[in-house]
């Protein structure tokens, strides 16, 4: 192994973190909620994909089923659990999110048991770049993530729905006065975040082929760290944070030891927050009155 390989691995894992971090950041940007149940959406998406593939459905159908299920799950959670609390204290919302996370993990445990399922291999092969071997999984992960992030950026910048998202995240009341329907905009944000999480779930399972009820917990936390590191609420921040965490992790595993990887990731967060509390790309708007 050498530096280039470690970097490629880092970008591979980092892209998945970034996809999940986008969900955290979009939701935070719009309802100022750290959606702790977001990691468990990944788990739900992984189970749906697993059972669909297990039933012999084609990969594309399995991925689509996973996306549809996660989108519905995300939207329903927002409607049932978060919306009634929107005007309550933020801490109630946060505790509810933790509650939903525990609920999802325990329902999964009840339904599917704690025994890990082996996710089937859906991407195989690889090719040589010079004498360096790159797996097809890596290529697919990086390309799919990059395309999704590009699409999301275009969506947010140019479409009316994307503009509504930006307006609501900057000033909800003013957005309403522009004729923007806030409920729909929030639902859409959860839908997009959860859909991205479903795809992240499948990509994750291609590299770490185990599906179990608490798989989203640590992964979700790390993606959350990526979100905070990049700048909570910022879409490019999620991408930068995700890649930073992924690369830091890969380099630690390559040059130090796997056991240090999580410790390094968490330390990176602490150091960044000490130096720049708003995260790498987090910014404070200059306000002149």
């Amino acid at each position: 192994m050498n530096l280039i390989n470690h970097l490629i691995n880092g970008i591979h894992v980092g892209s998945i973190y970034a996809l999940v971090a986008l969900g955290y950041n979009m939701v935070y940007g719009i309802v100022k909620l750290i959606n702790f149940a977001h990691g468990d959406i990944i788990m739900a998406g992984a189970y749906v994909a697993f059972f669909a593939l297990d039933a012999g459905l084609p990969t594309v159908v399995a991925v689509a089923a996973s996306v549809v299920f996660c989108v519905l799950l995300g939207v329903v959670i927002e409607k049932v659990a978060y919306r009634p609390l929107r005007k309550s204290a933020k801490i109630s919302l946060l505790i509810t999110a933790i509650g939903i996370s525990l609920l999802l993990e325990n329902v999964a445990q009840k339904l599917f048991s704690a025994t890990p399922r082996l996710f089937p291999k859906i991407i195989s092969g690889g090719f040589y770049l010079g004498d360096r071997q790159i797996s097809m999984t890596t290529i697919v992960t990086i390309v799919v993530s990059a395309v999704l992030m590009a699409l999301l950026t275009v969506f947010v910048k140019t479409t009316n729905a994307g503009k509504a998202m930006r307006a609501v995240s900057e000033d909800t009341e003013a957005a309403q006065l522009m004729g923007i329907n806030v409920d729909n905009t929030i639902s859409m944000t959860f839908a997009i975040g959860s859909g991205l999480a479903a795809i992240a779930a499948v990509l994750y399972c291609c590299s770490y082929p185990q599906v179990y009820p608490t798989m989203g917990a640590l992964f979700g936390i790390k993606a959350f760290i990526a979100a905070v590191l990049g700048g909570i609420g910022s879409i490019p921040g999620a991408v930068v944070g995700g890649l930073t965490i992924g690369i830091a992790e890969a380099l630690t595993k390559g040059y130090l030891s796997s056991t240090w990887a999580d410790a390094i990731v968490f330390s990176l967060l602490i150091v960044t927050l000490l130096l720049k509390p708003s995260g790498i790309l987090g910014r404070k708007v200059v306000e002149k009155v």
Binding site: N160, A164, E170, E173, A174, Q176, L177, I180, K288
Partner: protein, 232 residues
Amino acid sequence: MLNVTDINVYYGSIHALHDMTFHVNDGEIVSLIGANGAGKSTTLKTISGLLRSRTGDIEFDGHSISRTEPDVIVRQGLTHVPEGRRIFLSMTVEENLDMGAFTVREGKKQALDDVYDRFPRLAERRSQIAGTLSGGEQQMLAMGRALMIRPKMMMLDEPSMGLAPILVSQIMDIIVELNKAGTTILLVEQNARLALKISHRSYVIESGRIVLSDTAENLLNNDQVKKAYLGG
């Protein structure tokens, strides 16, 4: 154009508006004047749907809007320039105006040109980040943004707040011009003299109640009003 009948608004257990009834006729400038905390902004927020009244009714342009969502009310041609301007500070001037036209499907370009004609300063600064504008420019942007839907009626909450006198009179002139061009205006002002000078009629609000209503001219000469709001 606007009929507000017997509305009662609460913030939790605080009774903010008591049995408020007033109306604005087509083509008028009507102002609500009163001290800080009297309930003027609450009234506007209730009309635009951000707050709900427990009782009574609000009718705009022949339709009841007291249970209508804020975004639907905007689509009916009633626009609200909130207190403190509330422009999108991280967006450019033009992006702000574009947000104002969120519900507009046709004639967006024309509406934008009209706003730039009325506020040449905004045209000069179209690609500048709104957070870096001066207070007066921010107020112009807030008004321009509200004009993008070509509203039938415009509600303005403290447009003079924090502005230098020269800018205040400019903003007031613009309000009169807009009214002459056919927009009905409901104006909320702490600066009563200013509001009465340009209004046709006015309502005086104290602790969430309308205590006086008359033509602006009569109110300017009313001893009670002079003493309480016009500095003797």
